[in-house]
């Protein structure tokens, strides 16, 4: 904590304190919390906050990765190292297994964003998780801007945006009946820039794809996609090398890279501060479907 003589804290300290408070509330009041860990920067920051909230004890809940099967190898590697270092219990909710067992079917466009929702809900039911920490931030998207810190989900995992519980002061209501659950968003009030400042301050290691590197890409719908086994180049699409980095890490078949020379955290902060496109707008093919794509997915139980 960096405090001045006047008993003031910086906005980053205030955000950290609020997130830690939220995580402790969940552990104190809920039966079976789990932290959604994707290997993306927000879930990595969340994990750091969890470490801080319970130190010197271990993080008192497992982490879950909803694995679409379309992974960046750097991210999977990072996930496994972190899990080992912190002696975490990792639950993998696997989309490929769910495809094999017939729980879900591949969607026509091959994107797995929508079909990961039933896989997530199935794992929640199987493990009887009642609180799921998610790294979503309200600054990401207009439907997320509307969500409570403790977000109630019915027995079908659905969010009802017109009927949210009032949430006053820091008194969070996590009560629910069996089968229902609460999504908890400790980073609700953080912006992309806050996250990067925190990564710099805490010297948090990230998967290397967050920093500028050379990669073979194609351009599709105005965005740069890495060519890989999940995303082969289509006829007429030219493959070329470019200096890129990832602003978000999601399913490798629908997450785009951005042109960037930012190969250090300081340079990324400068870049994020100057950028004029939101991170989802710049990198997510899945959000471009319609005006209310995110709201619709959230209603169905997506994060």
């Amino acid at each position: 904590m960096t405090a001045t003589a006047a008993y003031q804290v910086t906005h980053l300290d205030a955000l950290e304190a609020e997130s830690i408070f939220v995580m402790r509330e969940v552990v104190a009041e809920m039966e079976r919390p789990v932290l959604l860990f994707s290997g993306g920067k927000d879930s990595i920051v969340m994990l750091r906050l969890a470490q801080k909230a319970f130190a010197p004890a271990h993080i008192p809940f497992p982490v879950m990765h909803v694995d679409t099967g379309h992974n960046f190898p750097e991210v999977l590697d990072y996930r496994d190292r972190r899990v080992a270092e912190l002696s975490l219990h990792l639950v993998v909710a696997s989309v490929p297994e769910a495809l094999a067992s017939g729980l879900v079917r591949e969607s026509a466009d091959g994107m797995r964003n929508r079909i990961q929702t039933p896989v997530l809900l199935d794992a929640v039911e199987k493990h009887r998780f009642d609180a799921l920490f998610g790294g979503a931030r309200r600054d990401e998207e207009k439907a997320r801007a509307k969500e409570r810190v403790f977000s109630f989900r019915d027995e079908f995992g659905q969010w009802d945006p017109k009927n949210q519980r009032p949430e006053l002061w820091s008194l969070y209501n996590g009560r629910h009946h069996p089968g229902e659950s609460i999504r908890v968003f400790p980073l609700s009030n953080w912006t992309e820039l806050d996250v990067w400042h925190y990564i710099a301050r805490e010297r948090i290691e990230l998967p290397s794809i967050y920093y500028a590197h050379e990669r073979e890409v194609i351009e599709r719908d105005g965005m740069l996609y890495a060519v890989n086994e999940f995303l082969p180049a289509r006829a007429g699409e030219e493959r070329f090398k470019a200096q890129v980095r990832y602003r978000t890490v999601g399913d490798a078949s629908c997450t785009a890279a951005v042109r960037s020379d930012a190969d250090t955290v300081e340079k990324v902060i400068e870049e994020v501060a100057a950028t004029r496109i939101t991170e989802r707008g710049a990198t997510r093919g899945d959000d471009r479907v319609s005006e209310a794509a995110m709201e619709d997915r959230k209603r169905e139980g997506y994060f």
Partner: protein, 439 residues
């Protein structure tokens, strides 16, 4: 009306550079009646401070154009739900963020429609400041008074009355002053610690970020100037030590043994190693051995820090207990007098009703022993014959709790004086409560 196209500036807010780390945080909420221009104002503030992204703006322009709006509807920047866009109103709070070199701002844009008052209360409960908008053509309406009253009840420390849509009244000084006077007279009955009044046009951008040339008679600052400079540090209570114990940290580990720490967020006051403390409800006393964070021990803890406190003596402490000072402690009370804002449409509050109550880190059950009166928000008249409180009604109640609450008056402490009431059958949060008296 002319068609206005918005072009984003070439560089977004310079505020966002590395020096961002030294900023403090101001949380503010909008308030006021439906259509008075709250969401438009927030859109304008984001736009004029260059806090918008091109894709956000392009999306809003496209929706506006498709609907045949005559100008880009900046309210769409916060009205993000499908139902909100269909109806052209705000339904639930939207949280938005922006920063200038001086401050980071967390905005809660709340709905004006009476049906969604509970969402306004949600947004205002954590606010340091509220912007109360009034349509210059209409003047104060019932909902403006209701929201001003709720802001004072929630003890939002700073209020700003924004007389909006000045463009539609020819930027008339007379209109502005009439509304400002009427509001000031109403606010005088409410116990509002700090009130500022600004004439604006959210749509045209007058007096939002820069002072308007259309209103040379107005000598005060533009709204943003005020938001950047309003002094909030002294709003916090640094006098009364209140540390609600949230969680007991006891590592089950072979490397860390005999560790016992009380985790929580400082509600008020300053805690230091060596301080003599009392733990409630037991009343045992001890001294603070250390105040710790994951980054190591700290010399002092104060709001809003989340820390772990360790004591010199082994005493039995669990979640819901409160660490305070022997000579400055909250009430330990089972009979609570409180103002309650009822937020449930299905069932009213009734005398004899039993509920769960959440107060600091403590949960109790409570029975409503009495309803003293229901308040008419327009006249501030107390109706003592009221038998129940319905959705959005406010009244004074007496509660009896199963276990004592460790409570202060809300006016002295927003954290240890506020509570929520939960219906145990539906699990819904049905009321916000503010303690007025503890015996």
């Amino acid at each position: 009306m002319t068609t206005e196209t918005l072009t984003p500036d070439s560089a977004r807010s310079a505020a966002a550079g590395p020096e961002v780390r030294r900023m403090d945080l101001l949380r503010f909420a909008t308030a006021g009646s439906v259509d008075d221009g709250k969401s438009t104002l927030i859109g304008r503030l984001l736009y004029d401070t260059k806090s918008l992204f091109t894709d956000q703006l392009a999306a809003v322009e496209a929706v506006s154009a498709a609907r045949g709006d005559e100008y880009t509807n900046l309210a769409l920047l916060t009205d993000g739900l499908r139902a909100e866009r269909e109806q052209g109103i705000t339904i639930d709070v939207a949280y938005r963020y922006f920063a200038t070199p001086r401050r980071k701002f967390i905005i809660a844009d709340t709905p004006g429609h009476i049906q969604y008052t509970r969402n306004m209360v949600t947004g205002a409960s954590t606010a340091d400041l509220a912007l109360i908008l009034v349509d210059a053509r209409k003047g104060l309406v019932e909902q403006s008074r209701r929201h001003a009253f709720l802001c004072s009840l929630l003890r939002v420390p700073h209020l700003v009355l924004c007389v909006n849509k000045m463009d539609l009244v020819d930027y008339s000084q007379e209109v502005f002053e009439r509304i400002a006077d009427e509001f000031t007279a109403f606010a005088a009955k409410l116990d509002v610690p700090d009130l500022t009044v600004v004439p604006i046009s959210a749509l045209k951008g007058d007096n939002i970020v820069t002072r308007s040339e259309s209103m040379p008679w107005y000598e005060g600052p533009a709204l943003l100037h005020h938001l950047e400079r309003v002094h909030i540090a002294s709003d916090r209570n640094l006098v009364d030590v209140r540390f609600p114990v949230q969680y007991v940290i006891r590592p089950q580990s072979t490397t860390v043994t005999d560790y016992r720490g009380y985790a929580g967020q400082v509600a008020s006051g300053v805690l230091k190693p060596g301080d003599e403390v009392m733990v409630l409800p037991s009343g045992f006393t001890s001294r603070i051995a250390s105040v710790e964070t994951a980054d190591g021990p700290v010399a002092e803890a104060f709001p809003p820090m989340s820390v772990t406190v360790r004591l010199e003596d082994e005493i039995d402490i669990s979640r819901g207990d409160m660490i305070c000072r022997p000579n400055n402690a909250p009430a330990v009370a089972q009979d609570i007098e409180a103002m309650v804002c009822w937020m449930d449409e299905t069932r009213p509050l009734q005398v004899g009703g039993k509920y769960a109550i959440k107060h600091t880190t403590r949960t109790a059950r409570a029975i409503v022993r009495g309803l003293h009166y229901r308040l008419d928000i327009n006249s501030l008249h107390r109706d003592e014959s009221a038998a129940e409180l319905r959705l959005n009604e406010i009244g004074r109640v007496r509660l009896r709790t199963t276990i004592p609450l460790l409570a202060d008056e809300y006016r002295r402490n927003r954290t240890t004086g506020g509570f929520v009431i939960i219906d145990e059958t539906t699990n819904r949060t049905v009321a916000a409560g503010m303690i007025v008296e503890t015996p």
